[in-house]
C-alpha cells in the first residue's frame, strides 16, 4: 500500500514538472569555424623569433615614457605649447592639464603618448579617474604580442599534456 502511494506520488510529480527545452541557448561558438578566426600572426611570428620581441616592445614603451625631460606633474612647469586640457569624467566638469610627451623615433612619425595626472585620491569627486593614454596602434600591437605569447605557451602546454598521456 505504502509503495503504491509512493510510486503514484513520484509519477505524478514527474508528470507535473514539465521541463521545457531551453529557449535561450546561445548558438554554439563553433558554428562559424569554417570562416574561422584568421590568425594574422604568421608573418609576425616569423619575424619575432623568440619572446625577446615582447620584452623589447615593453622596454621601448617605457623608454618613450621616461625619456622626455619635461615629465612633470605640476601645472606651473608645463610649457604652454604642450599643455593639453583634457575634460575630466566628473560631475563638476573640471578641466585638468595633462602631460604631453612628444615622441620622435627615428624614421617613424611622432607618436603622442599622454599620461593624465595621477593625483592623490583624497577627494574623489574633484580628481580625474586614473587613466592611461595609448594610441590604438600601440594597443593593437600589444594585443597581438600578447596573443603570440599565449599561443606559444599553449603549444608548450599541449606538448607536455601529450607527453604525459603518451607515457
Amino acid at each position: 500500500m505504502k509503495t503504491t502511494i509512493l510510486v503514484l506520488l513520484i509519477a505524478s510529480i514527474l508528470l507535473v514538472s514539465h521541463i521545457p527545452p531551453g529557449v535561450c541557448r546561445p548558438m554554439g561558438t563553433n558554428t562559424f569555424n569554417r570562416h574561422g578566426y584568421k590568425i594574422q600572426d604568421d608573418h609576425v611570428l616569423v619575424k619575432s623569433g623568440d619572446n625577446g620581441m615582447s620584452y623589447l616592445m615593453g622596454e621601448k614603451l617605457l623608454r618613450y615614457l621616461e625619456r622626455n625631460p619635461r615629465f612633470h606633474k605640476n601645472l606651473s612647469q608645463l610649457l604652454p605649447d604642450d599643455v593639453q586640457f583634457v575634460k575630466v569624467l566628473s560631475t563638476k566638469g573640471l578641466a585638468h592639464p595633462a602631460n604631453n610627451i612628444q615622441v620622435v623615433d627615428g624614421g617613424e612619425p611622432s607618436r603622442e603618448v599622454r599620461l593624465e595626472d595621477f593625483s592623490e585620491l583624497s577627494k574623489r569627486a574633484e580628481d580625474p579617474p586614473i587613466s592611461i593614454d595609448l594610441t590604438f596602434h600601440l594597443l593593437r600591437n600589444m594585443i597581438e604580442i600578447a596573443r603570440i605569447e599565449s599561443q606559444k605557451e599553449q603549444a608548450e602546454l599541449n606538448r607536455k599534456y601529450l607527453d604525459e598521456v603518451g607515457k
Binding site: 503504491t4 615614457l65 569624467l89 592611461i132 593593437r140 600589444m142 605557451e153 607536455k160
Partner: protein, 322 residues
C-alpha cells in the same frame, strides 16, 4: 496481481513519467568543454595543472591574455603603471593578489578597474555598466586584504599601480571564468564572428572591434519567438524599443561614438557595412521583454580599401559605405 508484477508496472510508470518531461534530451551547454568525460580525465588533469601554472614577470605597461601568475617587482620607483587584461569574448577575468609588498601609507596603490579606461573614456560606457566610474576601481589598499578575488563583468579589465620603493612588488594570479551570455566584449582580433544574445534582460551590450572593419550581419532577431515561429514586429527605432546600432569612433567609449546605422527589424540575410573608424562597435539595446539575438562577422578593412574611399569621406567622421 503478484508483487513482482506490480513492481514492474510501477517501474514502467515511473519511466514513462520521467520521459514525458523531455529530460531524455541531455542538455549540453558547451560551457565546460570536457562534458561527460571530465570524470575520466580529472586524474590526469589534476596531476598536470599544479605544475603547469604559467609564470612570468609583469611589466609596468603590459597586456595579458593568458591565465597564470605574474609578479611585479619595482627596481626603481614606478609611478604610472597600467596592465591591460583581455580574454576571449565568452570569458571574464578573475584577479587574485598574493605576496603583496607595498606601502599603502606611502602613496603606493594597486587598483583594478572593471573595464578599460583610456584617455578618460571607459569601456563599457557609463550607460552600459551598472556602477558609476569611481566604483569601478577596486583599491587593494582599501579592500584588497578582505577580498578573495576580484572579478570583472566582461572580458576586459585593467590594473593600475604605483610603487615608490625599489624592491617592493606584488603577485597577481589571473584566471578566466566562462561567461555563457557575454555582454560588452572587446575583440582581440580584427576578424571573427560573434553571436550576441540578450535573453530577457533590460540591458545594453556592446561588441567593440578596435579596427576598421567590414561588418556582415547574417541574422537579427528582435522580438519573441512563439511556437509558430511568428516574429512580432518591434515598434521602430528612434532610440526606442529594442534595436541594434552600429557605431564608429576613435575612442573606446561607445556612448561617445557616432551612430552609423540603426537596425530596427528582424531579418535573415546578409547586411554589410564598412566602417573605416579606429573603433567599430555593434551595440544592442534591449528592453528585457524579448530574447534578442544578432549574428555577425567582421573582417579587417585593408589600407587600399580605406584609401580608395577617402576622397568622399565626411570631415571629422570615419569613412562608411554600404
Amino acid at each position: 496481481m503478484s508483487v513482482a508484477f506490480r513492481v514492474q508496472i510501477y517501474f514502467f510508470l515511473i519511466c514513462l513519467s520521467a520521459l514525458k518531461g523531455q529530460s531524455r534530451y541531455l542538455e549540453d551547454n558547451d560551457i565546460t568543454q570536457d562534458g561527460m568525460f571530465s570524470i575520466l580525465n580529472s586524474e590526469i588533469k589534476r596531476g598536470l595543472s599544479e605544475g603547469l601554472l604559467y609564470r612570468r614577470p609583469l611589466r609596468c605597461i603590459d597586456m595579458l591574455t593568458m591565465e597564470g601568475q605574474f609578479t611585479f617587482t619595482a627596481d626603481h620607483p614606478q609611478l604610472h603603471c597600467a596592465v591591460f587584461f583581455i580574454g576571449e569574448p565568452q570569458e571574464i577575468i578573475s584577479i587574485e593578489y598574493s605576496s603583496v609588498n607595498i606601502d599603502c601609507n606611502g602613496g603606493d596603490f594597486i587598483k583594478v578597474f572593471d573595464g578599460w579606461i583610456m584617455k578618460g573614456e571607459t569601456f563599457p560606457s557609463s550607460l552600459d555598466h551598472p556602477l558609476p566610474i569611481y566604483d569601478r576601481y577596486i583599491d587593494y589598499c582599501e579592500t584588497g586584504r578582505l577580498r578573495q578575488a576580484v572579478r570583472s563583468s566582461q572580458n576586459v579589465a585593467m590594473l593600475f599601480f604605483r610603487i615608490h620603493t625599489p624592491g617592493s612588488g606584488f603577485t597577481v594570479t589571473i584566471k578566466k571564468i566562462s561567461n555563457p551570455f557575454p555582454c560588452n566584449v572587446i575583440s582581440q582580433t580584427p576578424e571573427g564572428s560573434f553571436t550576441m544574445i540578450i535573453p530577457h534582460q533590460h540591458r545594453n551590450c556592446s561588441f567593440s572591434i578596435i579596427y576598421p572593419v567590414e561588418i556582415k550581419i547574417s541574422e537579427l532577431t528582435l522580438g519573441h519567438f512563439n511556437d509558430l515561429q511568428v516574429k512580432k514586429p518591434v515598434t521602430g527605432c528612434g532610440r526606442a524599443g529594442d534595436f541594434v546600432e552600429l557605431l564608429g569612433g576613435s575612442g573606446v567609449d561607445p556612448s561617445k561614438m557616432f551612430p552609423v546605422a540603426d537596425l530596427c527589424y528582424s531579418f535573415n540575410g546578409l547586411a554589410e557595412m564598412k566602417i573605416g573608424c579606429d573603433n567599430t562597435v555593434v551595440r544592442m539595446v534591449s528592453s528585457g521583454r524579448f530574447v534578442n539575438r544578432v549574428v555577425f562577422e567582421y573582417r579587417l578593412l585593408e589600407r587600399p580599401e580605406l584609401e580608395k574611399q577617402k576622397g568622399n569621406s565626411v570631415e571629422d567622421f570615419c569613412y562608411t559605405t554600404d
